[in-house]
Subunit: 143 residues, 2 copies
Amino acid sequence: MARTNDEARRAWQLLMRFFFRQRGQLPACGDQFGLSPVQCHVLHLLEPDDPMPMSRLAKTLSCDASNVTGLVDRLETRGLVERRPAAGDRRVRVLGLTPTGSRVRGELLRHVSGRPNPLTRLTPDERRALVRILERLLDEQDG
Amino acid sequence: MARTNDEARRAWQLLMRFFFRQRGQLPACGDQFGLSPVQCHVLHLLEPDDPMPMSRLAKTLSCDASNVTGLVDRLETRGLVERRPAAGDRRVRVLGLTPTGSRVRGELLRHVSGRPNPLTRLTPDERRALVRILERLLDEQDG
DNA sequence: AATCAATATTTGAGCTTGTCAACTATTTAA
DNA sequence: TTAAATAGTTGACAAGCTCAAATATTGATT
């Protein structure tokens, strides 16, 4: 068990290190659209035909609901996203992409695909292994 | 090549998703010490007998030097870290742990080891694979 | 039907993180 | 010795966050 925790800690530390080092190239993604990394991620999460309630976004981002309010405010000001009423529940605001938002999201994805990220340097096997591991980690996390 | 980029993008997206979801449990690490996630990471990076110049920290964190100034200010106020003059170059400030900082760092590591992080749930093989992959990614990055 | 607890979102205060431009001090190179 | 590069700081300012408090709705229980 001690062994397991040590290794898990080591992996975690490497992950952190990787992320911080990588961060420098992150802003480049949304820079030409004037989007911050978090905003890019939100746009990435928000699929054109699958709007989600703000509360779900908060859960996905693991942050306070009030944070999402500000986040969405800024995206809405830019005309990328809109709050819509929810069908059955008048408390809920459902988040959807505007046509502009949908277009920008597309450009963003193409742009990210275009510029090779550091993961490109892995061998196909390694990449597959990484994807499999991450999928497992994400699956088990919540119901 | 298109295939490669698509897969790399998928892996990247998963990584982002994982990180944001994980973030919720991150503050818990340093909470009892009153440390933010970034501060924890800096403490983690700063090994007791291997002080580093602020400029190197900025590089490691991929952020502006002025950001490091504030970061270190706050850590210094808490008495965890101190700026020391560098041997050969009077422009340079070398960052070292104070005795307190060293102790807190130790507690922090033990604390993190203690509470099982999500990576604990991987099989040993998967964990080894993950560590190997991350090490490769970090190695190749810079000289 | 009236009430009470839970849920979704917003507001406002306040902190940390982060960037940029401008400035000082030192070092290095021409 | 002047000029260009490097290390760090400062000040202004935006964004990302959290917390506590307030509003509006919904759901469950009497």
